[in-house]
């Protein structure tokens, strides 16, 4: 974790140096919780305005965000642990809702409140 954070920190510094004279925006796609946490930690330490992007289906909601860093959840798309008999499912933040619903419908279950 510490190594990951320091690598991420160096990466941010390099990107900032290289783009110092332009109005740049970065996007990163972590593929594990550890990566996501390291990126967020490094961004917080460097005071980089950050936002998250999932499927973008509700991207028009709320006030517009001006972020330099976009963390996409596309790489966090695993259904981690589904226990049908316990009525519990653990998923990563980027799991597509339809994919999840199709998967657990095989046991007549649903995880999503209707909008």
């Amino acid at each position: 974790m510490t190594t990951l954070t320091s690598v991420t920190r160096k990466l941010f510094e390099r990107l900032r140096d290289e783009t110092a004279d332009v109005d740049a925006e970065f996007a990163v796609a972590p593929t594990s919780l550890e990566e996501a946490a390291a990126i967020l930690r490094a961004a917080a330490e460097a005071h980089i305005p950050t936002t998250f992007l999932g499927g973008g289906t509700h991207a028009g909601f709320g006030s517009p965000v001006r972020a330099e860093l976009v963390i996409t959840t596309a790489g966090l798309n695993r259904i981690v642990d589904w226990k049908p008999d316990d009525l519990t499912v653990v998923v990563q933040a980027g799991v597509d809702v339809d994919t999840l619903e199709v998967e657990i419908a095989s046991r007549d279950q649903t995880a999503v409140f209707p909008e």
């Binding site: 946490a37 917080a44 005071h47 226990k83 008999d85 316990d86 009525l87 519990t88």
Partner: protein, 218 residues
């Protein structure tokens, strides 16, 4: 409803509940008359194959209402046992329900406490209820300590701090049992973004010391 609760409820409502049984499970089916007959039969079959001592189906609306009255009167009925009760709210994975129940009975036995339980067990909700007399010196502290231990049993079984009642001041300091230092710090940061001077319900939402970093820019 567990055994002690059946006794308390039956004494109060006289619904013909089986006093002496280990537990009563109340199931209701809703829908078209033809459909519900088949569903009710399925429930009876499951009950039979799991060793139910007796199965009773409400014959009419009056009997259905009476069975529900028993369930809905449970919290009033416990007053017969003692003037006060302490109800806790948690939730456990359904497959761990029986283990957790046995563990909380063991805690109550150890401390000489009277436990009466009524749950909507189908979704894993778990509400241990300790009946006691708050006028006995030290009793409330003893009950609260045992109840917190019961919550910790539920957490250890893969459950969590609250099933549906929420956290409040009561469980604020138990949040450390389920949230890491980083989790609490992130929650405190969000709160701080809206309330930097700490004016909104100070000390109420998060345990003391949740914030573990210096504020950015200071």
């Amino acid at each position: 409803m567990d055994g002690p609760m059946i006794e308390a409820v039956e004494n109060f409502v006289h619904a013909g509940l089986p006093v002496g049984a280990g537990a009563v499970l109340l199931a209701e089916v809703v829908g078209h008359p033809e459909g519900i007959a088949a569903e009710a039969e399925l429930i009876r079959e499951i009950a039979r194959s799991n060793g139910a001592a007796a199965i009773r189906t409400a014959a009419d609306e009056t009997e259905r209402a009476l069975l529900w009255k028993g369930r809905k009167s449970a919290f009033g009925a416990v007053a017969q046992a003692a003037p006060d009760y302490y109800l806790n709210d948690t939730v456990v994975p359904r497959t761990r329900f029986v283990d957790v129940l046995n563990e909380i009975y063991a805690i109550a036995d150890r401390d000489g406490l009277r436990l009466l339980n009524v749950f909507h067990a189908g979704d894993g909700n778990f509400h241990p209820l300790v009946s006691y007399d708050a006028s006995e010196p030290g009793m409330t502290d003893k009950v609260v300590a045992a109840s917190h231990e019961m919550v910790q049993v539920a957490i250890a079984a893969g459950g969590t701090l609250s099933g549906e009642h929420g956290i409040g001041i009561e469980k604020r300091d138990l949040m450390r049992d389920v949230f890491s230092t980083d989790d609490l710090d992130a929650q405190a940061r969000v709160r701080e973004a809206f309330d930097p001077a700490g004016l909104l319900n100070p000390g109420k939402v998060l345990p003391e010391g949740s914030r573990c970093f210096d504020r950015p820019g200071t």
